[in-house]
């Protein structure tokens, strides 16, 4: 019995799944309508659909963040700002510089590609600083964290650029005839492609090796710098995709609010997914579950009437608890404590 329990609790996705179950349980008690689904005009509605839909950007970011954390033991805190840049670039190209347009000034696909390129370039800049210049990842990405929104404002000239075209909204809403919102499918596609590439090629193994010991992996013949550079560039690309979804949802480029506070959510998703923030071994599925958990938590807090400004407090507390539980010092202390407790118990038994 004890053996079996141990095997279950040591299962990698144990913690993230427990967290998700906990949040859902709270919801079941607090808001009984949480699991209700209804169909209006051939579209599914309900809290759960909303959670899965809203979590899409976070899932995409969490995938990129997982790889960055795994390869460099640092986090990319510029993802939120990069989302804003991607959105701004896309809207600038589609609107041709005007504040609000009712038709495209350039083909839609061009705007999409430009946004993805913008995200990739931002990621490459971060990757360059981290891998070539050997700057601590968080400090290197701090540059874009601050400058990013400034650049986005520069592109949109400080205004919110609206694209009032129906087809622009498709990426963030429902495609006619399909009951689920598009972002869900994009998130699934991103997760699937990434995990297939990581599983079928040696890339996943390389990333883990570099994260555990960059010097040793270089001696083995893995190009550590290139691997780190690649993870940051890929993270930038995914931030670009997430930025496109966020932009499409509100059919406008709002430089100040797109992707706001997303970096903390993404880091939280990675940590909650059972990944060590110290690099090395990683699990994409854990991060994905973590991302859905966080979105469920956010939606729960909204449902309980907490305002958007106040939510960071609860998330910050969750982050601190998780990293404390993960920290080696704390575990050592707990082990010492439980050993002492067991010794006392044995003494009493005597």
């Amino acid at each position: 019995m004890n053996e079996k329990l141990k095997r279950i609790t040591h299962y990698r996705l144990f913690l993230p799944l427990i967290c998700l179950a906990l949040v859902l349980l709270v919801n079941m008690i607090k808001t009984p309508t949480f699991f209700h689904l209804s169909i209006k005009n051939g579209v599914l509605y309900g809290y759960t659909v909303d959670v899965v839909n809203r979590a899409s950007e976070l899932v995409i970011l969490a995938v990129g963040m997982t790889l960055v954390v795994a390869s460099s033991a640092g986090t990319d805190i510029s993802v939120g700002a990069v989302m804003a840049v991607a959105g701004a670039v896309c809207c600038y190209i589609l609107s041709g510089g005007a504040v609000s347009v009712n038709e495209y000034h350039a083909p839609w696909i061009l705007g999409l590609l430009a946004a993805l390129v913008a995200g990739t370039v931002c990621g490459a800049w971060n990757g360059f600083l981290v891998s070539r210049m050997k700057i601590q990842p968080m400090v290197a990405t701090l540059i874009l964290f601050t400058a990013g929104r400034g650049i986005a404002q520069l592109i949109t000239k400080g205004q919110i650029t609206y694209i009032r075209v129906e087809s622009f909204k498709l990426l963030g809403a429902n495609i006619p005839g399909i009951p689920l919102p598009t972002p869900i499918f994009i998130a699934i596609i991103v997760v699937l492609i990434t995990s297939i590439v990581l599983k079928k090629t040696a890339l996943g193994l390389y990333i883990e090796a570099v994260g555990i010991n960059p010097t040793a992996s270089r001696n083995v013949g893995i190009k550590s710098k290139q691997i780190i550079f690649f993870t940051y560039t890929f993270c930038g690309l995914l931030a670009g995709i997430a930025g496109m979804i966020a932009t499409s949802r509100i059919y406008s480029a709002d430089a100040n609010n797109i992707g706001l506070n997303m970096e903390l959510d993404a880091i939280l998703a990675v940590a909650l997914g059972g990944n060590s923030l110290g690099g090395g071994k990683f699990s994409i599925s854990g991060s994905v579950i973590g991302a859905y958990t966080i979105q469920a938590l956010t939606t729960t807090l909204y449902a309980m009437g907490v305002s958007a400004d106040q939510i960071p407090v609860y998330k910050a507390i969750v982050v601190v608890i998780i990293v404390t539980l993960q920290s080696e010092e704390f575990n050592r202390y707990m082990r010492k404590f439980s050993a002492r407790f067991a010794a006392r118990k044995a003494e009493v038994a005597k």
């Binding site: 050997k134 968080m138 880091i267 400004d309 106040q310 407090v313």
Partner: protein
């Protein structure tokens, strides 16, 4: 040992020299470009200090933490929280100005203690801890009050608007009125704090320990220093300085609202880095950070004098400068490594 020290000294002075030269070059360039707008007046120079008084103190705290090899990105949010606390306590809860200020200082110490404990005793990455601190403080600001509170406490306002006139540098303006340059008490507090921190880092055992653990934690440990406690105290000192910075910020704005002081952490880090503090720890000087902050102030003054540029240019320029200095540091570090080999 002596040789090593000289090397570190050279590195510091090299970065510091670049910074100070850059500042004076920018300022003189400004005097030439905006000659007709009165850029050369003493008051414009003093305004640099008046508008950046809180940032000077916060950058000093950031420098202390960065010398230990850590970082604190919660400062901007903490400033917003302390402003909101001051505003709420004085306007809504009926506390006196002195009591409110004392409570904010105490909060700073507690905040620094919690962050320092997590960083030094539980060995969690400083960035993660202070990132959580940043979101916590910003969210807490919203929990205290979601709408803007203006401070009308007469005592607090009298502190904020008390002008101290300088005995020199006066000039007559176009209307023939004598204008005497002035500063606010905030500038004096900021400069006193700066000198105290400088002396603390340079002449006390605590200060030397901070440099020691930043230079090499293992060596410091082997020397018998209490690395954990020193690091904890560094964060407590940083929290205290942030609280002072928050109060100075509040004296400048006289209000509290959720979006206040957004991005201040970046300006403080940029100030410290531009001023020659190494991100890897062990090297740094609070006076360097002062010049880093003054450079940022000069860029802002340029933008105001120029008139047509928008405010986001400040952030972009600061980020560009930060990138430049970080890359410079990294190149210096790699060249040093090569020499050693």
């Amino acid at each position: 040992m002596k040789l090593r020290r000289e090397k570190a000294f050279n590195e510091t002075t090299f970065l510091l020299t670049i910074t100070i030269t850059l500042f004076f070059a920018m300022y003189i360039a400004g005097m030439i470009v905006f000659k007709n707008n009165g850029f050369a007046r003493l008051q414009v120079f003093l305004n640099l200090f008046i508008s950046n008084a809180s940032l000077i103190v916060i950058a000093a705290g950031m420098t202390v933490v960065m010398i230990t090899g850590g970082i604190d990105i919660s400062v901007g949010s903490f400033v917003a929280m302390s402003c909101m606390m001051l505003a709420h306590m004085m306007e809504r809860s009926g506390y006196g100005a002195i009591h409110s200020v004392l409570i904010v200082l105490l909060t700073g110490i507690v905040f620094g203690f919690v962050q320092g404990y997590l960083v030094s005793y539980l060995k969690i990455q400083p960035f993660i801890v202070t990132l959580a601190g940043m979101f916590f403080a910003r969210g807490m600001t919203a929990i205290i009050s979601q709408d803007m509170i203006s401070i009308k406490n007469p005592m607090f306002l009298s502190w904020a608007t008390h002008k101290i006139y300088l005995p020199f540098g006066g000039y007559t303006n176009r209307k023939g009125v004598l204008v005497i340059p002035y500063i606010y008490p905030t500038v004096i507090i900021a400069l006193i704090a700066l000198v105290v921190i400088w002396a603390l880092l340079r002449y006390t055992k605590f200060g030397r320990r901070i440099y020691a653990i930043g230079g090499s934690e293992t060596s410091a440990l082997l020397m018998g220093l209490n690395v954990r406690r020193t690091r904890l105290f560094a964060y407590i000192l940083d929290g205290f300085l942030c609280a002072i910075g928050g109060i100075l910020f509040c004296l400048n704005t006289c209000s509290g609202f959720v979006e206040q002081a957004k991005g201040l952490e970046m300006e403080a880090i940029a100030g410290a880095v531009i001023g020659g503090t190494l991100l890897t720890g062990g090297v740094g000087n609070v006076f360097g950070s002062l010049f880093g902050v003054l450079i940022k102030g000069t860029i802002e003054t340029f933008i105001t004098f120029q008139g047509t540029l928008s405010s986001w240019w400040t952030r972009i320029t600061i980020a560009a400068l930060l990138a430049f200095f970080i890359i410079l540091q990294s190149l210096l570090a790699s060249s040093k490594l090569k020499k050693r080999r």
